[in-house]
Symmetry: C2
Subunit: 314 residues, 2 copies
């Protein structure tokens, strides 16, 4: 979990407001609060209550809300508004939640706990957990269409296509399949490792960044730059995660550590070593930030989020 | 399974072609062939092959293709073309296939066979089956956006919203939840039975009929008539299914019969008796057909499909 505790990016004036210092911690807290408010309102409980309870249980279980925050930030970067992007931001979190519920199932990773709470199927049963995931995924698309205002229909269609692509076999489903196939295999290649991460987590992060841009009307070069930014921070994030699994104390990380080594899992540090992994993560973050250079001060939040990835210690 | 074998609706001239007799059997066969051709082309196998194989295994496993055929027929009824509706028709079948794969899972109905073939999880494993369903559902939305031509973006958004609504907790997911909750309960009410069927199967049938109309530009009264038509044939279809489970021989039905009685399942004939169930099914079909009266000869295929529901003996 990204925690912005004790981290302040002394960056520069906040975007479009000169003389005000940009504070990432405050920024992330405020955005997270806005997203959670919108998510809370997105699903009303009605008959049959159990399925709505189950969807809300996982959707409102906390987390960093990184995907919605990226979507909102990119929409603003391209001159759009928070209101314009909020339905898509919520849809991204619904989709992410679906993937967590299904990944936790006994037939998949078989996890009993997530973020310190029982997983969905431990509370509601496997059948309901499968259906809650299906329901969240389908509802995400309806929700975007029914709640987005001030965006041209053609642009919204592009966003919908992107969301679908990021979840399907071309995205997180494909990544999860290769991850499952790689279990217990100790000699997987860097290409396979990259495929897993760029699909299992990268695809939806990319869609988060890109959808915000598309809603605000991004085209051509801007779309390419946002895509490169997203791919680089996505991979850097994963590398840092792998490093922290080795170097962090359990207390710092807030979850059990050394899991990868115990599971003999191939990771970036197991392939490259810790120091080279850190260097590579920093290189990717620098590349990501360089992609944003034409946007000037408006890109400060996205620059700060990129910096935060390598700076975090837990 | 609807089989049009030995059934000819001696209806009237075929729509927009006077002097030609409309033959439902030929019509359904031709439409099914068109849909299967489009489905075959809709998913190309690439890395990781297993998930694409798994999705294709269930998507191309046959079946009556009723939902796509309804979508195509309604689009034509409202003056649209087959090409206009084919991507949505395929998406409807992808969504329907997802619901079958997930319903068959051990945590749900735990079925080993469907249409005489091993179910998806028996061939590919539970993990892949869950992911194949997720992949098909997400891809359905991308597929509609990327492949529909000649339809205004605003109309396509309406279709997407409808599809989402038909799958989410407001649709088939909600129906499946109540069906699971009703297992083993022998005194469920007619209201609960209606809820299960109108959501578990009715919602997607309704979306099939309606989406074809929306693509062709249906508005106002036409939308309401199509909705009523779809609801009435959906319920009639279920009632006839329940009756055939009791009256048919195993050979005629092509699947094991008397399953409902064995499972002490509450059905329409168990509540009303066989004869009253037949009368009610006929009444619903007549209502459905009456909704189409303003469309004249163009509605012949949909009229014939409605008639076929009560006429079928297997």
């Amino acid at each position: 979990m990204i925690s912005a505790e004790n981290l302040q990016v002394q960056a520069a004036p906040a975007p479009r407001e000169s003389g005000v210092e940009f504070n990432l911690k405050t920024y992330l807290q405020e955005r997270k609060a806005l997203v959670e408010q919108a998510l809370e309102a997105s699903i009303t409980i009605t008959y049959p209550e159990k399925i709505y309870d189950s969807m809300r249980y996982s959707l409102l279980a906390g987390g960093k809300r990184l995907r919605p925050i990226l979507c909102l930030a990119t929409c603003e970067l391209l001159g759009g508004t928070l209101d314009m992007a909020m339905p898509t931001a919520c849809a991204l979190e619904m989709i992410h939640t679906m993937s967590l519920i299904h990944d936790d199932l006994p037939a998949m990773d078989n996890d009993d706990y997530r973020r310190g709470k029982l997983t969905n199927h431990k509370v509601y049963g496997e059948d309901i957990a499968i259906l809650a995931g299906d329901g969240l995924l389908a509802y995400a698309f309806e929700f975007v269409v029914e709640n987005t205002v001030g965006v041209k229909a053609e642009k919204l269609l592009k966003v919908i296509s992107r969301l679908g692509h990021a979840v399907a076999a071309t995205g997180l489903v494909g990544g999860q399949v290769v991850d499952l196939e790689s279990e217990g295999i100790t000699d997987i290649t860097i290409e396979t490792l990259n495929f897993i991460h760029s699909h299992k987590t990268g695809a939806l992060l990319e869609a988060s960044v890109l959808s915000g841009g598309l809603l605000a009307g991004a085209e051509g070069d801007a779309v390419q730059r946002l895509t490169n930014y997203a791919r680089n921070i996505g991979l850097a994030f994963q590398i840092v995660d792998d490093v922290l699994d080795i170097t962090s104390t359990q207390e710092e990380l807030g979850k059990s550590i050394g899991k990868d080594i115990q599971a003999q899992k191939v990771t970036y540090p197991s392939l490259w070593g810790i120091e080279a992994s850190r260097v590579e993560a920093q290189r990717l973050v620098d590349l990501a930030k360089a992609e944003l250079s034409p946007f000037d001060a408006a890109a400060i939040p996205l620059q700060a989020i990129a910096d935060f990835i390598t700076a975090r210690t837990h």
